[in-house]
């Protein structure tokens, strides 16, 4: 991440250097690099004159501001009650088998990370999952295989 310093500087120029700018800056870094490395959080702390612990505190509060290593495609399977009742467990099992990882892990080639998420608002079309920002709904095992195969080609 050799251009990290530049990126943080650019983002701070764009959004400002007050406390309120922290969120958009962190969001943009995640968008670009999948997750927040320690180096990135320290850079942001420096730029905004905050402590690194404060930046980490904020980032760790939000599920979508990851501070652990994440793959290029982050799959978040909804774990809340409607999706659970509509077969979320089978969907998860299919994903684990397909990607050969367990929930919480990232594939060795750093392409996929498999996570659970709280409700994403697609209860009426459960079970649902997100891949990065894209929702996939009314999932079946076949549908999941098809979707993941598509992503593997990307």
């Amino acid at each position: 991440m050799y251009q990290l310093g530049n990126l943080v500087q650019e983002l701070s120029d764009k959004y400002g250097r007050d406390r309120a700018s922290l969120m958009p800056i962190l969001q943009c870094i995640v968008k670009k690099h999948n997750y927040l490395t320690d180096e990135a959080m320290v850079e942001v702390a420096k730029e905004l004159d905050l402590s690194a612990a404060e930046v980490y505190g904020t980032a760790s509060f939000y599920s979508f501001l990851d501070t652990e290593e994440r793959g290029r495609f982050v799959i978040r399977v909804c774990r809340t009650i409607s999706c659970s009742m509509k077969g979320k467990e089978d969907i998860m099992q299919t994903l684990e088998d397909l990607l050969k990882i367990e929930v919480g892990d990232t594939t060795a080639d750093k392409q996929f990370t498999l996570l659970e998420t709280n409700c994403i608002g697609w209860c009426h079309k459960a079970p649902a999952m997100l891949i990065n920002d894209m929702p996939y709904t009314e999932l079946t095992e076949d549908k999941v295989i098809e979707i993941i195969k598509e992503y593997m080609q990307k």
Partner: protein, 593 residues
């Protein structure tokens, strides 16, 4: 003013005061856990809830401003039941191993639980399911998340009082915790070990790392010679840990208690505080001469004091560019340690390897300081164990000593003599005042031009103090300072220290000499002092410090007979070769994040 009723009694408080303030004015007790007088309102523990007539919900009395005509009840069935549930919920996530706990009998959660007769827990115990982390990496304190009730006093302390924010609130919901940057060990972050968080923690989530057992072992070991030094601020606070009023001066009782505990020699950090003034005062005058007369551009001014190890670590992290501005003098604790295993051991014909050097400090950062690799000038670890004021209080209790009725005793000799200038090291502004009393006299041959040696402008609890002293009538050696105005500043609490540093950095302040203490109020408000510590208590301790000074026969460091003798017999000149070897140190640059 607004007037309201609490439990049917009328009370008037200034606008902006909280319901809690008003209740306290009526002497009505409301329990609190997240509230602390030194910190901003948080309102997150809810244990202070009260009932307000006309309001459906209970209100948090620490957060809600008192309003005209309010009708508040603090002890209704609803209030009582809510408080009990709140405490029970906190206990469900708190490792309640009270008898094994460092804060047993001095825990705010334990006290509320006791006050509300919490018996069988009605909620599930969630502690065992949680993978809590106990961080023992710092030599100063232990952070045990299983005891944490997430009141966030520590986070607010670190941010508001100390401008460090080494810890912050991380994660959310059941996972919420107080965390350093990405859960790094506390020894590897910007923490200064000041212990202000330890002093404010209501439970044992943050406690000093204790060395009580090691000190008892040394006392019981017939082959060791245990020498104790006591810091200035301990003698005006120890009484609080033993049931006396805040501000009680207990110097003689403390010495007597230490002797009864079996300490071989009870000596005084005040002796090396006087020595610090000789070294640091000389260093300041030499720097001024080099800068003003010789035009030496390498000389760094202002010179900063170096007694406070929390401040030292702060500047090492935050302003490493200014490390050359720090006085090279070790703190009085470390000067004492270096001399205990050299000069003192020689005089008493002791094998320095068998001398165990223990210090009693108002401070947790002193534990870190004693562990610094630089602090081995004697060839041994100069200070073996550092105990806080609180730990000494515990040991006195363990020894079964009735402190209140103890007959006062005097310090032993060889490094036991001190002056009033040394004792005021314990209060913010004290080092400055002591230094001025001596430096002014060296330069002019006359006493400082303040009534009864009391340099009032450098005293008090204002965050940043400034003063200037016009130097007139210099003796021949110091003629170059004739007419000069010595500009000084004093800051206490690292938030204030940071303000001074920014002013210096931005060229907005031209000081010659700056005293900085990491803790609010100086050492009397140190992280190792009795709990609670707040502004009112700090003021009482400060008053006691100046009373202690006033009743000393000698009040200027350079008049301490043992100090005069040690230079003659052992050290040579202030800032001389031997002094440099034993009494001075260097600093290291640390990462800023």
């Amino acid at each position: 003013m607004v007037t309201l009723k609490i439990n049917n009694k009328e009370v008037s408080v200034p606008k902006g005061a909280t319901i809690l303030d008003a209740a306290r004015k009526l002497d009505i007790h409301i329990p609190v856990l997240c509230h602390h007088e030194d910190l901003c309102v948080a309102g997150n523990c809810r244990v202070c809830v009260v009932e307000q007539k006309g309001s459906m919900a209970l209100v948090a009395s620490c957060a809600r401003p008192a309003e005209e005509g309010m009708d508040i009840m603090t002890n209704t069935m609803r209030v009582r039941s809510a408080r009990r549930h709140i405490v029970e919920l906190l206990l469900a996530e708190h490792r309640s191993d009270c008898t094994k706990c460092h804060r047993n009998m001095n825990c705010e959660l334990q006290k509320v639980a006791n006050d509300y007769s919490i018996g069988e827990h009605i909620f599930l115990d969630l502690v065992e399911d949680h993978d809590y982390f106990v961080d023992r990496s710092s030599p100063s304190f232990i952070k045990d998340d299983s005891k944490c009730i997430r009141c966030q006093r520590c986070v607010r302390t670190c941010e508001q009082l100390q401008y460090v924010s080494a810890i912050a609130v991380a994660h959310k919901g059941a996972e919420q915790k107080i965390s350093s940057f990405h859960d790094r060990p506390m020894s590897h972050v910007v923490c200064t070990n000041c212990g202000q968080c330890v002093n404010r923690c209501p439970t044992a989530a943050l406690v000093e790392k204790t060395y009580i057992d090691q000190v008892w072992d040394a006392i019981y070991d017939p082959n060791t010679h245990v020498v104790v030094q006591t810091a200035p601020a301990v003698r005006v606070a120890l009484g609080e840990a033993l049931g006396l009023d805040a501000g009680a001066r207990v110097t003689g009782k403390m010495v007597a208690a230490l002797k009864q505990m079996g300490i071989d020699s009870v000596l005084d950090t005040d002796f090396t505080a006087d020595l610090t003034i000789m070294e640091e005062g000389t260093e300041l005058l030499v720097r001024l001469k080099k800068a003003l007369v010789d035009g030496d551009k390498e000389i760094s001014l202002p010179m900063f004091t170096s007694c406070s190890p929390g401040w030292i670590k702060f500047i090492e992290h935050r302003y490493p560019k200014y490390l050359p501005n720090l006085s090279t003098c070790k703190s009085p604790q470390q000067m004492f340690g270096a001399l205990a295993k050299t000069f003192y051991a020689d005089k008493r014909k002791l094998d320095p390897a068998k001398v165990v050097s223990v210090s009693i400090m108002p401070c947790t950062a002193k534990k870190f300081e004693a562990d610094r690799p630089e602090m081995r000038s004697s060839g041994y670890k100069d200070v073996d164990f550092v105990l806080t004021t609180r730990e000494l209080g515990m040991m006195i209790k363990q020894a079964g000593i009735n402190f209140d009725t103890l007959e006062e005793a005097r310090y032993d000799s060889i490094m036991g003599d001190s002056t009033g200038a040394a004792v005021i090291f314990g209060a913010t502004g004290g080092v400055m005042e002591a230094a001025l009393r001596t430096a002014y006299e060296i330069v002019t041959g006359r006493e400082v031009p303040f009534e009864n040696l009391n340099i009032k402008p450098v005293r008090g609890l204002e965050g940043v103090k400034e003063a200037s002293v016009k130097i007139e009538g210099c003796v021949d050696d110091w003629k170059f300072l004739e007419g000069a105005e010595l500009k000084v500043a004093i800051a206490h609490g690292l938030t204030n220290a940071d303000k001074v540093m920014k002013a210096v950095r931005d060229g907005k302040a031209e000081y010659h000499f700056v005293e900085i203490m990491a803790c609010p109020g100086g050492c009397i408000g140190g992280g190792g002092q009795p709990i609670p510590t707040n502004q009112e208590i700090r003021q009482l301790r400060v008053d006691a410090i100046y009373e202690e000074d006033e009743q000393m026969v000698l009040r200027k460091s350079h008049e301490n007979p043992e100090v005069i003798a040690i230079y003659k017999e052992f050290l040579g000149e202030p800032n001389g070769h031997k002094a440099h070897e034993l009494l001075h140190t260097h600093y290291v640059e640390r990462e800023a994040y």
